[in-house]
């Protein structure tokens, strides 16, 4: 439609100037009498009305590109009863969402499509939910996640069914990531080469980081070269990821270099004391190996020095300490503590959790065992590092539960009990479940019952419901109400499990 024949385009200028000063234009495109028959403002308004209604009534269809439909992976949606449970979880029981998603994935089902937007939004806010979500949304959910930037995270938690070179060349970032993850499973070296290429060529840091994370699956020392190159990436996020992947490779030359830095720094004295030197700023190679930025002119503060030491201890394989100081990790920690280096002690405790060392975790837990409550209280008071979940995680389930059960038997404090039970993580052994139930029914202390209940509600195996009496005696009114809520949650979890 050109401006000369569009009646609206003709009428508007005349209306702006006013019919007192300009004649009503002839609008041959509109029906009705010609210009010579009508004059004045009413004629203009008549035509404007015609033009306005005509424009609305004459709206023509647009054109747009239909989407490629979601691929059908043959995974069925959960049935109505399970979908009903999800509705209740989303509105009233958010803590049960991870468990429900796990059950869905295990049952070989996928979440109801209608809830996908709400679930993907939750994953956007809560990164811990993402792996479970990625496993439960099916190809349908991964298809949907492409269309919204805040949902792109989902691509980082799963692989496509097979590597499609077309997707790798032309796909959206999350799809490329999923394609590369598929290739990593069939041809790790090819995937590695493509990562290296992306690290060189892709200008967007988040995309480089996301593609680099593909190497996390099936990581070997063959990947060291690419990772070492990524340590010099200009984005801190990429460097940090490369370092954390490298620290999973204790046989790499990178790990050897870190061991060398520790050896140069640590010495033992005649009376068993452990001396640990400082790391000055003039160590570019060391800084690069720890993914740290080179310090500026005012960079050599105490805080910067202790940050460097902390990073080194966190990432250097812990075996260098047992080789240097004492074969028993517990004795290493004791000697460091005795030498007044609480900072080094805490860094080692943190490293044990970070590196997932069962040997160090076990050693540390055995020293904590007799008085966990006291240790927890002192750690809180003195702001010391004591992350029980991280220390327990590397241990096998039975050992983990047994340690927590023993620690429970030595504490009266219900807040500590709740903390310990959470640290055990699921699924609890029958023995631990019995111990937790006993505590639930006979709290020896007044405060902290809620912490105990929260842990039980989330982790107590649902088949244990039969051991929870509907009306136990001896609880205060507040505790009774907490107990009944807990029992109700366990009952809900049992129903939820039966549906899937």
């Amino acid at each position: 439609m050109s401006t000369t024949t569009d009646p609206w385009g003709q009428l508007l200028p005349a209306a702006l100037v006013g019919t007192a000063r300009r004649a009503v234009p002839d609008t041959p495109a509109l029906p009705g009498p010609g210009a010579e028959d009508l004059h004045g403002p009413a004629a203009l308004l008549d035509r404007a009305a015609l033009a306005a209604v005509r424009r609305t009534a004459g709206h023509t269809p647009h054109t747009a590109e239909p989407l490629d439909p979601a691929p059908d992976d043959g995974v069925p949606e959960v049935d109505a009863a399970a979908a009903h449970h999800l509705t209740e979880i989303l509105t009233a029981r958010p803590t049960l969402l991870p468990e429900w998603l796990d059950l869905v994935a295990r049952a070989g089902r996928r979440v109801p499509a209608v809830h996908l937007p709400a679930l993907l939004d939750r994953g956007a806010r809560d990164s811990e939910l993402r792996p479970a979500l990625a496993a439960a949304v099916g190809a349908h959910g991964h298809w949907l996640a492409r269309f919204r930037n805040t949902w792109h995270y989902l691509g980082s938690h799963s692989a496509a069914a097979h590597f499609d070179p077309k997707v790798w060349e032309h796909g959206e970032p999350p799809e490329r990531r999923r394609a590369l993850a598929a290739l990593r499973r069939t041809d790790p070296a090819d995937a590695r080469g493509r990562v290296a290429e992306a690290l060189r060529a892709d200008p967007v840091a988040e995309r480089r980081r996301s593609l680099l994370s593909v190497l996390s699956h099936g990581l070997t020392t063959d990947d060291e070269e690419v990772l070492a190159a990524a340590l010099t990436d200009r984005a801190a996020g990429v460097r940090g990821l490369a370092l954390s992947l490298l620290s999973r490779l204790p046989d790499s030359t990178h790990a050897d270099r870190l061991r060398g830095y520790v050896r140069a720094l640590v010495s033992t004295g005649p009376r068993g004391e452990v001396r640990v030197g400082g790391i000055g700023p003039g160590r570019p190679r060391l800084l690069r190996d720890l993914a740290l930025a080179a310090p500026g002119r005012s960079g050599d503060t105490d805080a910067a020095r202790s940050e460097r030491l902390w990073a080194l201890i966190t990432h250097a394989p812990l075996d260098v300490w047992t080789a240097l100081v004492d074969p028993d990790p517990a004795r290493v920690l004791a000697r460091v503590e005795r030498s007044g280096r609480t900072d080094v002690h805490d860094a080692l405790v943190n490293a044990a959790g970070f590196q997932g060392s069962a040997e160090w975790g076990r050693a540390l837990l055995s020293t904590l065992g007799p008085d966990v409550g006291g240790h927890l209280a002192r750690a809180t008071r003195d702001r010391r590092v004591l992350q029980l979940p991280a220390l327990l995680r590397p241990l096998p389930l039975g050992e983990r539960c047994a340690w927590v059960q023993q620690a429970l038997s030595r504490t009266e404090d219900l807040n500590d009990a709740g903390h310990l039970l959470r640290a055990a993580d699921g699924p609890w052994t029958p023995e631990l479940s019995v111990a937790a139930t006993r505590m639930l029914l006979n709290p020896r202390n007044r405060g902290g019952y809620r912490a105990l209940c929260d842990a039980a509600a989330e982790y107590l195996p649902p088949e244990h419901l039969d051991h929870l009496p509907p009306d136990p005696p001896g609880l205060s009114p507040e505790d009774r109400s907490l107990y009944l809520d807990t029992r109700d949650t366990v009952r809900f979890r049992r129903a939820m499990k039966r549906e899937l």
Binding site: L16, V17, P41, A49, P61, A64, L67, P69, P117
Partner: protein, 434 residues
């Protein structure tokens, strides 16, 4: 007691938007010392309103089935009904009032006087009701005639001065229309200041002038218009029809109605929630809409579920587009409704514009449409490739339930706001309200 009155009817009594807004405060329970229904033959709602300071106002409303309600309030407001009357009626239709003891003497006297006058008139006089209607019709006609002159003045002197106009310029015309009982036209005028601030103000303002001009002209020749268009002119001008009138004398239609879609909105200024429900008769094939308003979140009730069908007798408003339930049966599952192509939906919209050129949006049921994209914008496209733009920026739930496969989608279409999807019938899956 109040099943013949809804909050919608109370709003219809408000002389202007600001009174209705003020009634939000005056309908709060703690603003009233007493409020209740007076026992006896006449239905009288009365109350003592706590004013500012230590003043209090006595408010009474005589709700009469045959005549318009009569109000009395001891406040000094010039507006009739005042915000106290509106607040009291809002509480009454909300079911908050019950029968209470004796009312103050002045309320009793007022009622007795009314009863006496009523007795003098004996039976309601159809001639008198017709006279009232004519009176009102003439008032509206006068108001719209003035509007017509005002519009000509604006266009004669040119729109270029529009952005510089102060509120008083527009308010004078809007108030004049309120006085003339043409509340609908007044509302269209009172939106002009907002349109004048719009980026594309010349088009917006001229468009609104054109529609107002069309309304005034159509009203002038109302006697010669076809029934449907005439009903639309009255409704748009603001001659509202109360629900009880529709129930009493509206055309009835009985059918199995498929619940196509429902759309709930809330007005942030007044806190009033509205629900539109679109129904399509299976035998007659006509599409109608029911409309309900409420202030309290739960007062609307659950309402019918999209994708079900209900056996119901409806009473139609004069425009035959809006309806109100007379009686309804139990809901049951409904088959997927037949839909049209994009071109078919646009044709239907155009046909409805012929009946009501001021219509904002129409309901469209699109068959076998898929989500589509152009740049960052979302569309629904049919098999021929024709597409309608979506009004919602991120149609995520629609994408999720269709998976990009063809589905039947019901929604409201307007060329200005795009297509708002409300209900989806995905392939081989249950109906999803959006």
């Amino acid at each position: 007691m109040n099943d013949r009155w809804s909050i919608d009817d109370v709003r219809g009594l408000a002389p202007d938007a600001s009174s209705w807004k003020a009634a939000r405060k005056t309908s709060a329970a703690d603003a009233w010392q007493y409020a209740g229904l007076l026992p006896g033959e006449a239905l009288v709602v009365w109350g003592e309103f706590r004013g500012s300071g230590d003043r209090s106002y006595t408010v009474a409303v005589h709700v009469d089935a045959e005549e318009a309600p009569a109000y009395k309030c001891s406040c000094p407001s010039r507006k009739t009904p005042c915000k106290h009357v509106l607040g009291l009626l809002a509480r009454w239709v909300g079911g908050e009032l019950s029968e209470t003891g004796e009312a103050p003497e002045r309320v009793g006297r007022w009622i007795n006087r009314r009863a006496a006058n009523r007795a003098r008139r004996a039976v309601p006089d159809p001639a008198r009701a017709e006279a009232t209607r004519r009176e009102r019709d003439r008032a509206v006609a006068e108001g719209l005639a003035e509007l017509s002159l005002w519009l000509r003045d604006q266009v004669e002197s040119g729109l270029s001065g529009v952005p510089g106009r102060d509120y008083a310029h527009w308010d004078r015309m809007a108030e004049r229309l309120v006085d003339a009982k043409a509340a609908g036209a007044a509302a269209l005028v009172s939106e002009l200041p907002a349109l004048a601030r719009h980026r594309d103000w010349p088009t917006r303002v001229l468009e609104r002038f054109a529609y107002l001009h069309l309304l005034a002209e159509a009203h002038r020749v109302r006697e010669h218009l076809p029934d449907g268009l005439r009903a639309a002119v009255h409704t748009r001008a603001g001659v509202s029809t109360r629900t009880d009138e529709v129930l009493a004398s509206g055309e009835r239609t009985t059918d199995t109605w498929t619940v196509l879609a429902r759309n709930e909105t809330s007005d942030p200024a007044t806190g009033v929630k509205s629900r539109r429900v679109w129904l399509r008769g299976r035998t007659h094939g006509c599409t109608v809409m029911t409309l309900a308003h409420a202030r309290e979140p739960d007062a609307l009730g659950p309402g019918p579920t999209s994708g079900t069908e209900i056996e119901a007798e409806l009473a139609l408003y004069p425009d035959r587009r809006r309806a109100t339930e007379v009686s309804t049966g139990a809901p049951g599952p409904a088959p997927v409704p037949p839909g049209s192509t994009v071109a078919g939906a646009l044709d239907n919209h155009a046909a409805q514009l012929a009946e009501d050129p001021w219509m904002h949006g129409s309901l469209a049921v699109l068959a076998r449409v898929v989500p589509a994209r152009r740049g960052e914008d979302w569309y629904l496209a049919d098999r021929s490739g024709d597409a309608l733009p979506l009004g919602t920026p991120g149609p995520w739930k629609l994408l999720a339930v269709t998976g990009g496969r063809p589905a039947t989608v019901a929604g409201e279409w307007s060329p200005r706001d795009g297509f708002t999807p409300l209900t989806v019938w995905p392939q081989d899956a249950p109906t999803v309200p959006l």
